[in-house]
Symmetry: C2
Subunit: 396 residues, 2 copies
């Protein structure tokens, strides 16, 4: 199973560092998990992930269930061995992909019925089946099956999703017994603060190894997302990891850590790598742009990654516009490195009780980035107070 | 420039080992050159190429001329620096791609007019322009512009191509003066032994740094290809490298080395890697086949490559059928390693004067491979004699 302990806590915000001990290594938190949908992070070897500093990755149960099948993976010794990854793995429940990728679906208290996006075959996922799949994969951390309502949704829809998710969470907990794998609960509740609080309280009463915030970053504005974090965190136990699912931009990570989040996952570094969107300390570089045609400098002069040590923007642009696979690979590697370094720098800042100063510096370095300025304008929170409550929250 | 010296010569066949000294390192021959069309071998970093043992690669002038342009590469310090490759580079003339990739083309004694396969724009390549492009790229070894007739062609067409190629070779030689880059001539002549001999004699009289055999492996049968090698090699000077262009299969490399070839290039290890065709000591493995679904063994139990050390056939099959980019990358890396090891083992065998025994073992290990048996049936040469003449050759 896992163990979690916090080490440093910021005095001026909710941020903390911690250690997540898993059967496959000790993970320093706050941590970002890259996404290896079908095993690998697209184009990247396990050795490269390790060399970036990652010790924990996320894999998608839905995809692995459909192809090559969880039973085959179990037969071949589990996902760690199959994918030759010696680090830790968190598997999601598959519920989110069923809703987002599948054409036809039917949700009832029993579970989710869906059509495979690969061949149209019909499948049913119950809470028990969801855990059975994750047990077969042998992940270090499993997630409960939850219902994630689309955004926007009515309060009634959000309430119904919370009710059903609570029901499923209880069944998942029973099904996970004796697995030796950790299980995290997932707080839903749309953008309704009261629903979020109640959902959190109910899950805490059931008792999980960690608590996730789901159903965010679905298109709602940033202030709404951060406010939902702020109302949920105080309901969660200090001595358990808190995981913000499917998030996000570097700005999201900074704001999430400040509000007490310990774990993140997102496809952004790899997916954006494939589209030539490169993360840098001063904002994004869209490598296809003609301005980089003769640019001999590295992606980010501040970056010590293997790509920035060796390749120019001009060459990476050439690879990208020529559809050379190596370009995607190098872009992804740089982005992963950027995310990992950002988390590392935040952990160091927390240990020195200077995360808010780090945040100021983070935005100052990106002052030329219109996207980063727009982000700040949108959240308009200033510094959150000691209870993690923003001005917005105080008027909710 | 380059220097070439031979070290060991087989007594029972034409094979020899040598050292090709270039401004970017010393290359042991016989050598196989992987193809980095637009800079990189598709999906592979320069460091990985080096770790396989490659010190010399081929790049395509035609592709780099069209994108990003040879002038841009010159401005950015040449191809070695642009692609971050510290090894040696041989550039082809571009002539072959113009004929094979371009819709519209017109060949005259002046040069080749062709339409870009990218945007349909019209370009003319003269011998002078061909060398200008390769000088801008800054390769260690340049190739003359030649006319490569399609297969099959009439004796008249082959004769005309030889005449024109001779004319262009002379112009290229003048244009290359003072470049500090080596220049190889190319022997054409279709499947006509007399034309091949005359073409070789004329080029040798002009004097080049090395001699290539072009216009082979275009669909003619294997015996015809090997016979053309056998008639050409005796016309070439012993103290210059001999390069068989665009070839080929592992069997081709063995037969080519036995007949006195020092250099090869081919897209096979990388292109076949992308289609899941994996080279092994016992023949090919088509990794998509269902028989590998549960196969925990490596691609080739005899192989020490980083892929075979770490991944199972089952996982590589999963990556391939799921269209995961990492699969292509690992397949390509394995194939490159296989080719490099094959060349290394042949060099060692030549040093011990046992290449013919090596050849016997090579085919014996593949006796279960129908393709390898068919190859042997097709060439039906037995062991060539001391003059490199097969039975077939003796009746020509």
């Amino acid at each position: 199973m896992i163990q979690f302990s916090t080490s440093y806590k910021e005095t001026a915000c909710q941020a903390r560092t911690g250690q997540l001990t898993t059967p496959h290594g000790i993970i320093e938190t706050p941590v970002f998990m890259p996404v290896g949908t079908l095993g690998p992070v697209k184009g990247i070897t396990p050795d490269e992930l390790k060399s970036c500093g990652f010790g924990l990755m996320l894999s998608n149960s839905y995809h692995l269930y459909l192809r090559p099948g969880h039973e085959l993976i179990a037969e071949l010794g589990g996902l760690h061995r199959f994918a030759s990854w010696s680090g830790a793995i968190l598997t999601d429940s598959g519920g989110f992909q069923m809703v987002s990728l599948s054409d036809l679906r039917h949700i009832s208290d029993e579970g989710v019925t869906f059509k495979s996006h690969l061949d149209g075959s019909l499948h049913q996922l119950t809470p028990e089946r969801c855990i059975e799949i994750q047990r077969a994969l042998g992940s270090d951390i499993m997630m409960v099956l939850d219902e994630c309502p689309t955004h926007p949704c009515t309060t009634e829809q959000a309430r119904e999703a919370v009710r059903r998710s609570r029901h499923w969470a209880r069944q998942c907990k029973v099904a996970a017994e004796g697995s030796g794998q950790a299980l995290f609960g997932i707080v839903q509740g749309g953008l309704d603060a009261d629903l979020r609080r109640t959902a959190a309280q109910d899950l805490v009463a059931m008792g999980f190894d960690g608590y996730a915030l789901g159903g965010l970053s679905l298109g709602e504005d940033k202030l709404a997302m951060l406010t939902m974090i702020e109302v949920t965190i105080p309901e969660l136990p200090e001595d358990h990891p808190r995981y913000l699912m499917g998030v996000g931009l570097p700005e999201d990570l900074v704001e999430g850590v400040i509000r007490g989040i310990d774990m993140f996952d997102c496809v952004m570094p790899s997916r954006h790598g494939r589209t030539g969107w490169l993360f840098t300390s001063t904002g994004r570089v869209m490598i296809k742009n003609a301005q980089y045609m003769r640019d001999e400098s590295p992606i980010d002069a501040q970056c010590a990654c293997p790509v920035c040590q060796k390749y120019s923007r001009a060459y990476l642009r050439h690879l990208f516009v020529s559809n050379e696979m190596l370009g995607v690979r190098l872009n992804t590697l740089h982005n992963l490195w950027y995310y990992q370094q950002l988390m590392k720098h935040m952990r160091e800042a927390i240990q020195q009780d200077r995360l808010l100063a780090f945040r100021e510096q983070f935005y100052a370095t990106r002052e030329a980035s219109p996207r980063s300025r727009a982000y700040l304008d949108e959240i308009d929170v200033g510094v959150v107070d000691r209870n993690g409550r923003s001005r917005k929250e105080q008027v909710l």
